[in-house]
Symmetry: C2
Subunit: 643 residues, 2 copies
C-alpha cells in the first residue's frame, strides 16, 4: 500500500471537547442513536415503520413474515451500526456493544453461503438478485455494511463483522469486473467502502474492484437502460426513466466536467474517485475530481453547503440554478460534501476544501436534525413558506417541519455517523506536517516527529480566538503545524508564545505553515476577526437577485417568522443597515449568537398591484443560525433577504 | 323570462374593425379554425392525435374502432363548432358551414334514443354512463355541445344542433335534480350552457336545472369521494384524491368566500352563478360572486389576468401566492375570467369588471396563441427559463415553447371561440344606456331609443385616442352613452363635438355617463394619457418583491432574452430610469409599441458568493408586449424585473 502523504488521523486519536460540537455529539449518542435503534426495531409509535430488524430476521430464517419497506432498508441499519462503532470509540458502552454484537450475529445468519448479503432479495426475491443494479441497491447496502464493519473493527477490535463483509465483497469481486460480468451500481457507495476495506485489510483486490467500478462507470451510458430492457420484472419504473447522468453514467468519470444527477450518488462517487486518484497517483482522475469540485462549489452549491437543486431525481440541475424554496439540499448530500472534501484534503491540503467542509458542517448538515435529536429534515430548504399547501410545490416533502422518521430514512443515521466520527475530519498529518483543518476544541495525538499531542481551546464559531498548546513527546522536535486561514476571514492574527507571526510569510495553500522546533507547552494563539458579513450571490443565481445573506464566521444566519413576523419577504436589510452580533445566549436554541438588524418592513397595501411601491417603517430584525431554524414550531424562514 | 337591465348585444350587431383585434380574428378564422379542424380529423402530422371525429364516428356506428384520448374529447369539437358559428356570423363561408352541418349530422347519429350524447361512453363503456360525474365530464361535454348549438342556431338559424342539445339537456333534466338523482358535475360548464339554452329557447326548465346544479354544489363536500367509493371501476384515480375544493364543492356556493380549486372550473361556476343571480335577483348568490371576484382580483390574479398558481390541480393556492416561473395561469382560465367578468358587468355595470376583462383580453388570454395561430400555450408563465430542464419544476408543461396541439387540447379552441365572439364583450345596453366597455374599433347597433348605431375609431391600445360617432335612427333620441374610464388611466379628457365634458360631473361606477339628445353624427372624442406605468405588486406577493413591471394602457410588457441577453435577472430598472415608448412598429410581432428602458446590467462575477454585490453597467433594455412573447424562438422572459 503506497504511503499517503497526508491522512486524517484515526478517531481514537482525537478527543473532542468543544463548545459547539460536544453538545451535538451528546445528543447524537444519548438520543439519536437510541432513538434510531428503537426505530429500526419498530418500537417507536406514530412514526413510519422501519421493519429493518424484522426484515433481517426473515432473511436469516429466524422468523416467518413478509419483507417490508424499500429494497435498501439494510443500509439504515448499517449506518446506525457505523455510528454505534464511533460512539463506542468516544464512550464505551458494554450494553450497546452487546446489542450491536447480537445484530452482527443476526447479519451473519442472514448471509448466504456464497457470501451474498441482502435482506430484501434473500427474503423476498432470491431468484432476482444482481439483476437490477439500477435501483435495487445491493451494492449500496453492501458498501454501507462494509463501512460499518470497518468502523466496528476499528472501534472494538472484533473481526466478525469485518469477516462477514470481506466474504460479501469477495462475492461481489468474484462476480463483477474485467473478464467477469460487466456491472456498476446504480447508487455509488461500494467504491468508497472498498477503499476503507482495502486500507484496513491491506488486500489489493478491494482497491482493484473499487478502481474497476470507477473505470467502468460511463463506458456505456445506456448500461442501466439496457439492464432494464433485459429484465422481465421490476421493482420500480422510476429509475429506469432517469437519464444516464442521474447515475453519473453519462460519460467516463475522467471525462466528466460537471457534477450531475442524484447529488448523494455523485458525492459518494467523487469521494471514492478522489481517494483512488490519490492512492494510485491517477492524475486524470484527480483532475476530474478537481474540475467537478470547482463546478460544484462555484456554481451548484447553496450557501449552506447544501447541494441538489431539485426534488426531481434529488439532483443537480444546471449551473446557478439554486432556488431557495424548492431547494432539495438533502441532508445526505451535505454529508457527502464532507466526505468528498475530506478526501480532497488528503490528496491536496488546500484550505478551500476545508472551507467547504466547514460550511457544510456548521450549516447544511446539522440543519437536518432537530436540536434534541428526535426529528429530522430530509430536505433543507433555504426559504420555508408553511402558509403554502405542500402541493404548491408538487412535493409533500417540502412541508417545512422535521419529522420523526422517513419512509426512506437515509439521512438520520448518516448524520449520526458523521457527527460521531467528527474527530476524523479535524486533523490530518503526514510528512512531518500536522494540519488543523477545523477549529474544534479538544486534543489530538499524532505520530509525527516522534509523537505530538495538541490541544485546541476555543469558543468557535461564536468567538474567533483559538489557542493551540503543543506537546511534542521529544522536546524540540521539528515539524510544521499548519493552521487553516478560513476563506471567510479577512483578518487573522497569529502568535507563537505571544510573538506575532507574519502571516504572509508563512501562508501556503490557505494554511499558516508554522515550522519550528516545538517545546512542550508552546502556545499558538489565533485571533480571527468575526464581524457579521453581508454575502451576495453571483448575479447568475436567479433566486438571490436583490438579496443579501448574513454570515458570521462559518455560520449562515436565517430569519424566522416567529421572530420577525411571518411575511418575511416584506422585510429588507438596507445596504447600510446596522447589524449587531448579540452576546452569546446559552439559553436560546442550545446556545447561539443572535444577530440584530436595523431593517425595514413594507407597509400593508390593499391593492394587489399599484402604481407606487409600498411605504416602509423601521423595524429591528433578529436572525438565528440557519442550522437551528425550525426548533420553535413551524414558521416561515428565509436565508436570503431583500436588500 | 325577466327582463335584464343590461345585456351584451348579439354578435351580429357588432362589426369589429380594429387595429389590434382584427388581425387576431383574421388569424383565428383563416388559420386556427382550419388548423383545428384538421387536428380534429387527425390530418396534421407530428402533433398529438386528437381522434375526435374518429371517436364520434365510432359512437355513431359509422365506423368500427377503439375510442382514443381523454374522456372529454367531444368538448374540443364542441368548442371548435362554437367558434365556427361565430366565424360564420363574422364572415359567411358556405363550405365551412356545409362541413359543420355534416359534423352536426354525425353528432345527431351519435346521440342515443334517450337523448344521451357522449362519444366516450357510447363507444367504450356504455354500461358506465353517469357513474363518474367526478372526472368523466359527461355534463362538461354536454355543456360545450349546448353552447355550440346555441351559437350555431344564432349564426345560421338552423335548429338541428339546438334540438339535439335540447334532447340532451332534457335527458339530463329527467335524471338529475330535486326528487330525482342527486348529482353535480365534477367540471362545471353545463350550468352556464343551460343559461344560454334557457335564453334562446325561453324554457324555464333549463334555468331551473342550472339553478339546481348551483344550489346542490357544496351541500355534501364528500359527494365526489362517496361517488368514487361506490364505483367498482375507474378511469383515473387522480381526481378522486383531490380535495372537495378542487371541484368548488367544499361549501355551498353562497357560502364560499374565496376562489378555490381548479381555476377553469371555478370561473365556469361563477359565470353561471353571476348569470343566475342576476336573472333570479338572488342577492346571496350575487354577494358570493362579488366576494369571490374581489378575492380573485385582489389576491389571486397575475398582472396578466391569468389565474391558477400551481400545476397541481391547475388550481388556485392561497392568497398572494403568485410564483412567476411556476405560474400555471392556464389559457382557459384567463378565458374564463372574461366569461365571469362579462356576467358581472351585465349584473352590475362597474368598470372594475371591464378593467379585468380588458387585462385578460390584451394579455393572459392571447398569450396562449402564437401570432400565426398554429401553436399554443396551455400554461402562461410570467418568467421563462429555458435553460432549466423541464424536470426542474417537476412538470414538463413548463417547457417555455408553444406547441401544435395538446393531449388535453382545451385551450386552443377556447381561444378561438373567445376571439371570434369578441364583439359580444365590447358593448352592452339596456334601460336607455349604451355601455362601451372595451375600446375596440368598429360599429355596433342597438335597439335602445328607437335604434342607434355607434362607430368607434381608435388605434388603441397603442394610442389613447378614441372617437365615437353616434347615429340614432331618430334624430334627437335621448339616451346615455356610458364610456368606460379605465382604472389604469389617470387622465382622460372627453369632448362631445369638441366641447369638453366635466368628467367628475358625469362619472358613475367608472363610466362617463354621457346623457343627451343625440343627433346623427355627434362625435365623442376621448383622449387617454398613455405613459408607461411602473407597477408594483403588493408586498405580500413573495415572487415580486423588489421587482417592477411595466404597463402601457392595458398592455403588460415583458423582457425577452433575445432582446436583452438571456440572463434577465442580472438586469434591473432603477426607480428613476428613463422609459420611452417607441413609435408603433408595424413590422415587429404583427405590429407593436416597443419600450426602451435605460437599465443596468450586473457585471459578471467569478465566485458563487462574495462579500460585495456585483458592479453594474448602463444598458438599454427593450420590452415587448407580454402576449407577443415567444414568437421569435425559445428564449428567457420576465415580466417582473428587479428594480
Amino acid at each position: 500500500m503506497p504511503e499517503k502523504t497526508n491522512s486524517f488521523i484515526p478517531l481514537k486519536s482525537v478527543k473532542i471537547q468543544d463548545t459547539f460540537f460536544t453538545p451535538v455529539q451528546r445528543v447524537v449518542m444519548d438520543t439519536m442513536i437510541p432513538y434510531q435503534e428503537k426505530a429500526l426495531h419498530d418500537e417507536i409509535p406514530d412514526i413510519k415503520k422501519s421493519h429493518v430488524i424484522h426484515n433481517l430476521r426473515i432473511a436469516a430464517g429466524d422468523e416467518e413474515g413478509k419483507y417490508y419497506g424499500r429494497v435498501f432498508q439494510d443500509s439504515d441499519l448499517a449506518k446506525w451500526l457505523e455510528a454505534v462503532a464511533y460512539s463506542l470509540t468516544l464512550k464505551p458502552d458494554p450494553e450497546l456493544e452487546k446489542r450491536a454484537d447480537d445484530i452482527i450475529d443476526l447479519i451473519g445468519r442472514a448471509q448466504q453461503p456464497d457470501g451474498y448479503l441482502n435482506s430484501y432479495f434473500t427474503a423476498a426475491e432470491p431468484e432476482h438478485r444482481w439483476q437490477n443494479l439500477t435501483d435495487c441497491h445491493e451494492m449500496y447496502c453492501a458498501g454501507h455494511m462494509t463501512e460499518a464493519a470497518v468502523a466496528y473493527y476499528q472501534a472494538t477490535g472484533k473481526r466478525k463483522f469485518l469477516d462477514i463483509c470481506c466474504r460479501l465483497c469477495d462475492h461481489i469481486d468474484r462476480r463483477f469486473g474485467k473478464g467477469k460480468i460487466t456491472g456498476i451500481p446504480g447508487h455509488e457507495e461500494i467504491e468508497l467502502a472498498l477503499m476503507r476495506l482495502y486500507r484496513v485489510t491491506g488486500e489489493e483486490r478491494y482497491l482493484k474492484l473499487a478502481m474497476y467500478f470507477i473505470d467502468e462507470r460511463g463506458q456505456d451510458p445506456e448500461f442501466f437502460h439496457k439492464e432494464a430492457a433485459a429484465r422481465s420484472w421490476s421493482r420500480t419504473d422510476y429509475m429506469d426513466k432517469m437519464p444516464p447522468s442521474y447515475m453519473q453514467n453519462h460519460a467516463p468519470v475522467r471525462e466528466q466536467k460537471t457534477v450531475e444527477g442524484h447529488a448523494v450518488r455523485c458525492m459518494y462517487l467523487l469521494t471514492a474517485a478522489a481517494d483512488i486518484a490519490a492512492v494510485t497517483d491517477d492524475k486524470a482522475l484527480m483532475d476530474a475530481c478537481r474540475t467537478m469540485w470547482d463546478n460544484m462549489v462555484d456554481r451548484r452549491m447553496y450557501i449552506t453547503g447544501g447541494i441538489g437543486s431539485t426534488a426531481y431525481g434529488e439532483a443537480f440541475t444546471v449551473d446557478y440554478d439554486l432556488p431557495n424554496d424548492t431547494a432539495y439540499a438533502e441532508t445526505c448530500a451535505a454529508v457527502g460534501v464532507c466526505f468528498f472534501a475530506r478526501k480532497m484534503l488528503e490528496a491536496e491540503p488546500q484550505s478551500r476544501y476545508a472551507d467547504i467542509m466547514e460550511r457544510a458542517l456548521y450549516n447544511g448538515t446539522i440543519s437536518g436534525m432537530q436540536l434534541d435529536g428526535t426529528k429530522f429534515f430530509y430536505i433543507n430548504q433555504l426559504e420555508a413558506n408553511p402558509d403554502l399547501p405542500s402541493t404548491a410545490y408538487g412535493e409533500e416533502e417540502y412541508t417545512p417541519q422535521r419529522i420523526g422518521w422517513y419512509d426512506c430514512a437515509c439521512c438520520p443515521p448518516n448524520l449520526a455517523r458523521l457527527m460521531t466520527s467528527l474527530g476524523t475530519y479535524a486533523w490530518s498529518s503526514g510528512r512531518n506536517i500536522i494540519y488543523s483543518h477545523l477549529f474544534i476544541g479538544g486534543t489530538a495525538k499524532f505520530d509525527e516527529a516522534g509523537g505530538v499531542e495538541i490541544s485546541l481551546e476555543t469558543r468557535y464559531p461564536w468567538e474567533g480566538e483559538v489557542l493551540y498548546t503543543v506537546k511534542p513527546s521529544e522536546p524540540g522536535a521539528e515539524f510544521t503545524l499548519a493552521v487553516r486561514h478560513p476563506g471567510w476571514c479577512d483578518s487573522m492574527e497569529i502568535k507563537i508564545n505571544g510573538e506575532p507571526v507574519d502571516e504572509k510569510a508563512v501562508i501556503k495553500d490557505g494554511y499558516l505553515m508554522l515550522q519550528r522546533k516545538w517545546q512542550p507547552g508552546d502556545r499558538v494563539s489565533c485571533r480571527m476577526a468575526m464581524p457579521v458579513r453581508r454575502v451576495y450571490a453571483n448575479p447568475m443565481v436567479r433566486a438571490d437577485v436583490g438579496c443579501v445573506a448574513l454570515m458570521r464566521g462559518p455560520v449562515v444566519y436565517a430569519f424566522e417568522g416567529i421572530d420577525n413576523g411571518e411575511a418575511l419577504q416584506t422585510l429588507r436589510i438596507p445596504r447600510d443597515a446596522e447589524i449587531k452580533a448579540l452576546p452569546y445566549d446559552p439559553d436560546l436554541l442550545r446556545g447561539v449568537v443572535v444577530l440584530e438588524v436595523a431593517g425595514r418592513r413594507k407597509n400593508e397595501m390593499k391593492d394587489l398591484y399599484a402604481g407606487a411601491p409600498a411605504g416602509e417603517e423601521e423595524v429591528t430584525l433578529k436572525a438565528i443560525p440557519y442550522y437551528a431554524w425550525c426548533n420553535r414550531g413551524m414558521t416561515h424562514m428565509r436565508v436570503w433577504m431583500p436588500e
